[in-house]
Each structure stands twice: as structure tokens, then as C-alpha cells.
């Protein structure tokens, strides 16, 4: 399978900074994968995402080295216009990425900017709203929406552009636990139904590791760990990089040390309880 995203030896330093925000970074993401990116605050996660959708170097200039390719084309040599259609970027704060006064106009914002004809735009906007279950909010104003709804509207605006790759920067950090879980389920569903590839920066790993294919840990601009969520979370160094290892995984790890439960696969609380209960009977 071909890689939709290839990052090779990427380095980037902001102009007024002495340290590189991203340093010698490599990453390959095949089509249809969900990759989670974790790491302590300031380690360069957002900067890496900016380099994937072209904000770095097109909007943020600085010292740029290495290469990022999306769908085989170098980001550095593509225009923002072109990149906007291939990479969708969902930012942390949904409030600051909703521009228009009605939901449907906002979902259409990117398509309007690209000059998509009205009939086609209508189809794509309706499709995106249906996909995210917000069709009944079409005429609402942004200030009449809950945070979770705002997040969906912003994501609908991203999906209406039909990107091959969607990147999300801490999408659940402003959401309550239930809405956050819904968003994660939504990501899994979109991958299944549309085959979209996702790169997600997230601190709340308990929700995401269940749907993620891969977990990448960053520290001081470098990639320090990479593997399946199970591999990474079971290694002791994960905690030293400030990765919030889910409590249930910590328990499983302790029990696995005493061979009470298997180390294959991350277990849900129910599975763990069943395994432990079954072992003692």
C-alpha cells in the first residue's frame, strides 16, 4: 500500500527561536491508518502538523530542512490552495475555525473559496452535514451551538473538501468526556466508511488507543517512540516522556508482570475483570 504521508528528515526552526521545534523527523503513514501523536507540551506536535498541511513553510517562514510529501507531492512545492483540498486540519478550538453565521454556510466556506459551482457545493455540503449528523443544525448560528456541535461543524467543513488526509490537533481537549468519546467514535467511523487517513495529536490516550493503529511519541522535536499503542504503552519509557498511560493499561501491565493476564492487546476494563476473575476461579 502506498504511503499517503511521508515525512523524511524534517527539521524546522521558527525565526525568533534558538531551538528547532521539529528535528530530523521521519514518519510514513499508509492510506487509511489512524496515527496518534503524543508528547509533552512544547515538543513540536503542532508544528509537525503545520508542516503536513503547509502552514509551515507557507504561512510560518523559518529554517526548513528535509521533506514532507502528501500523496507523493512535496508540501513545500504545493500551493496552499492545492493543499487545502488534500489535507484537512481540525484545530483545537472549534470556535476559532467557524467563520460564517449559519452552519451550512460555514461548512461551505472552503468550497466557496475554491470557486466550486453552486450545485456541486450543495451536494457536498449536504453530504458532509449528513455524515456528521448535523443536517438539522444547518440554519443555526455558531453561538447557538454546543462545543461538541461546533467541533462537528468544523469537521464537516473540513470533510466537505474531501481530503485524503485529516489532521487533528488535540480535538477533544475542550470537550466533556462523553462528547470526546463520540468524536473518537466518529473518527473510527469515517476511516471505515470513507477510508480517510487520520493523524491525531492527543493527550487523552484512553479513548484513542482503542481505534489507533499506531502511536508515535515525540520529545523535544524528535520522534522517540513508535509502534502499536500496545507496544508503546507497555514500555516503561513511555511514562518518562509524559505520556498519559491509561489507568487500565497500568493495571494490565502490573498484572501481566505476575503473568495473571496476557500482554497481547490492550484490554478493556471488562476484559481485564473477566481475565482476572477467570484466573482466580
Amino acid at each position: 500500500m502506498s504511503d499517503i504521508l511521508e515525512v523524511k528528515g524534517l527539521s524546522f526552526r521558527y525565526p525568533d527561536s534558538t531551538r528547532r521545534a521539529v528535528a530530523d523527523f521521519d514518519l510514513s503513514v499508509p492510506q487509511g491508518e489512524i496515527v496518534v501523536l503524543a508528547g509533552p507540551s512544547g515538543c513540536g506536535k503542532s508544528t509537525l502538523l503545520r508542516a503536513v498541511n503547509g502552514l509551515v513553510p507557507h504561512m510560518y517562514s523559518g529554517e526548513y530542512g528535509g521533506e514532507v510529501k502528501v500523496g507523493g507531492v512535496a508540501v513545500k512545492d504545493s500551493s496552499m490552495r492545492d493543499l487545502a483540498q488534500r489535507v484537512g486540519f481540525l484545530f483545537q478550538n472549534p470556535e476559532n475555525q467557524i467563520f460564517m453565521f449559519t452552519v451550512e454556510r460555514d461548512v461551505a466556506f472552503g468550497l466557496e473559496n475554491l470557486g466550486v459551482p453552486r450545485e456541486e457545493m450543495r451536494t457536498r455540503v449536504d453530504e458532509a452535514m449528513r455524515l456528521l449528523d448535523i443536517s438539522d443544525l444547518a440554519q443555526r448560528a455558531p453561538h447557538e451551538l454546543s462545543d461538541g456541535q461546533k467541533q462537528r461543524v468544523a469537521l464537516a467543513g473540513v470533510l466537505a473538501m474531501r481530503p485524503q488526509l485529516v489532521i487533528l490537533d488535540e480535538p477533544t481537549s475542550l470537550l466533556d468526556p462523553k462528547t470526546a468519546a463520540e468524536l473518537v467514535a466518529l473518527v473510527a467511523r469515517l476511516r471505515r466508511e470513507l477510508g480517510t487517513t487520520f493523524v491525531v495529536v492527543e493527550h487523552r490516550l484512553d479513548l484513542l488507543v482503542k481505534v489507533a493503529d499506531r502511536l508515535v511519541v515525540m520529545n523535544e522535536g524528535r520522534k522517540v517512540m513508535e509502534g502499536t499503542p500496545r507496544d508503546v504503552l507497555f514500555r516503561d519509557e513511555a511514562e518518562s516522556y509524559g505520556v498519559a498511560v491509561p489507568a487500565i493499561t497500568q493495571v494490565q501491565k502490573m498484572l501481566a508482570k505476575d503473568r495473571l493476564v496476557p500482554t497481547s492487546g490492550l484490554m478493556t476494563p471488562a476484559e481485564l475483570a473477566a481475565a482476572v476473575g477467570g484466573g482466580s476461579r
Binding site: A84, V87, Q97, G110, R118, M161
Partner: protein
């Protein structure tokens, strides 16, 4: 503040007037505005105000408009007083102060029945540059967000012991600084994030962006516009050639 939000902030409505083409609503308000300027007697002004009240009734915003009238009248009492002291002419002073009320009402009728979306459409018909229209759109879009921000910052600072209502006027102005600084910082952060999101959604990609919704004047819109122009012409004509004038 109350006066401003009651008199000028759009609230959704379903009346026939709300559903008019926004450009026709603008035309009606402009014509009413001009009429108040060419009015020469209290009789004529009374007629214009009655006409505005009728429009407000059709637009189902009568109560809001009457309230705006009352509040503006309080303010224009000042205009009356100054005029009367200077000129000693009761009728003229009354005319000037009430004319101010009429001007405010004609403007208010447009803004309270026209959604921000429609305002954008009106700006586009005047062929204003895309950036100007978009700047206006975002400014209006973020008014409720900034208001909420302000309230939250005020609450936060009050809970840290800031006393907004204490002291003389200078003290009070100085007390606003702990509110203003976080507000400005928030806005700067916000505009940075907005710029990123705009870039990521292809803002400015093509010189002629398209629009999801199409505003087309219906036959009814055109008829209303024509009726408005004819009414204006008749009214202006009778002001100058039919009705008597009481003072120069």
C-alpha cells in the same frame, strides 16, 4: 448598551418583511431616512413616524421599535433643549429633536430585520472587496464570543478581588485595565488561530469565490421596491407642493 442591542441587533423573524430581499429593505430604510431629512413641518414628520410604525407592525417588530423610539426620545430631549435655548422657536426645536428619533428608527428598522448573512449579501452587491466583506463578517460573527469572553474575564478578576464599581471615575477607568489586557491578548491569539484556519480552508484561492446560497430578487421584491420608490416620490411631491408649511 440596552438601547444598542434592542435597537440594532438582528433577531430571527419570519414576517414577510424579514423575508424581503435585503437590498429592498435597505432601499426602504434609505428612502425613509431621506424623507425625514426633507420634512419641513411637524405634521409631515408625524406622518413619517406613523409610516415607520406601520412598517414596524408589518415586520412584527413593533414593540422593539416603540421602545427604541422612547429611548431615543429621552436622548433627543437634549437636542430639543439646546435648540430651544438657542432659537426660542418651539416648533422648530421639536421638529429637530423628533427628526433625530425618526432617523434612528429608519436605520434601526433595517438592522433588526436583516441577518448578518444578508448584510454580507448587501455588501457584495456594492462590489466591496472580498477582504473588506470578510473582515466585517468575522467582526460581527465574533461579537457574541467577545462579549462572553469579557464576562468571563470580569468574573475571574472579580473573584480575585478586583472591585469594578468602587471609586471615582478615574479609579473606575483604571480598574478596567485588568479586564482589557486579557481581552486584547485573547483577541490576538484568536486572530492568529483564525488566520491559520482561513489558510487551511483555501481563503483567497480564487479571485471570484462562489456562494452556497443565491439571493435572487423575486417579482414580489421588485414590486415592493417599485412601490417604495413611488410612495417616496408622492410623499416628497406633496411635502413641497401640496401641504402648507408653517415656518421657514
Amino acid at each position: 448598551m440596552m438601547w444598542l442591542s434592542g435597537g440594532f441587533v438582528f433577531r430571527r423573524g419570519t414576517s414577510r418583511y424579514h423575508r424581503l430581499d435585503p437590498r429592498v429593505k435597505l432601499l426602504i430604510s434609505v428612502l425613509m431616512f431621506v424623507t425625514t431629512l426633507i420634512v419641513r413641518s411637524l405634521y409631515e414628520l408625524a406622518f413619517v413616524l406613523a409610516f415607520m410604525v406601520a412598517v414596524a407592525a408589518v415586520a412584527t417588530v413593533l414593540r422593539r421599535v416603540l421602545r427604541t423610539m422612547m429611548l431615543t426620545a429621552l436622548f433627543s430631549a437634549f437636542i430639543f433643549a439646546v435648540n430651544f435655548i438657542v432659537t426660542g422657536n418651539l416648533e422648530m426645536s421639536l421638529l429637530y429633536s423628533l427628526r433625530f428619533v425618526a432617523i434612528v428608527v429608519s436605520t434601526s428598522l433595517f438592522f433588526i430585520t436583516t441577518s448578518p448573512d444578508e448584510l454580507e449579501q448587501v455588501m457584495k452587491t456594492f462590489r466591496l472587496p472580498r477582504d473588506v466583506v470578510f473582515a466585517f463578517v468575522t467582526a460581527v460573527r465574533f461579537i457574541p464570543v467577545m462579549l462572553l469572553d469579557t464576562i468571563q474575564i470580569m468574573d475571574a478578576q472579580k473573584s480575585r478581588g478586583l472591585e469594578l464599581e468602587k471609586g471615582n471615575i478615574f479609579r473606575r477607568v483604571r480598574n478596567m485595565i485588568p479586564i482589557l489586557i486579557p481581552l486584547v491578548v485573547n483577541s490576538v491569539v484568536r486572530s492568529g488561530e483564525l488566520a491559520e484556519a482561513m489558510e487551511s480552508r483555501a481563503y483567497g484561492a480564487v479571485p471570484q469565490p462562489t456562494s452556497l446560497v443565491e439571493y435572487r430578487s423575486s417579482l414580489a421584491d421588485k414590486a415592493v421596491a417599485a412601490a417604495a420608490v413611488v410612495t417616496f416620490a408622492l410623499v416628497a411631491y406633496s411635502f413641497y407642493y401640496v401641504l402648507p408649511v408653517h415656518f421657514p
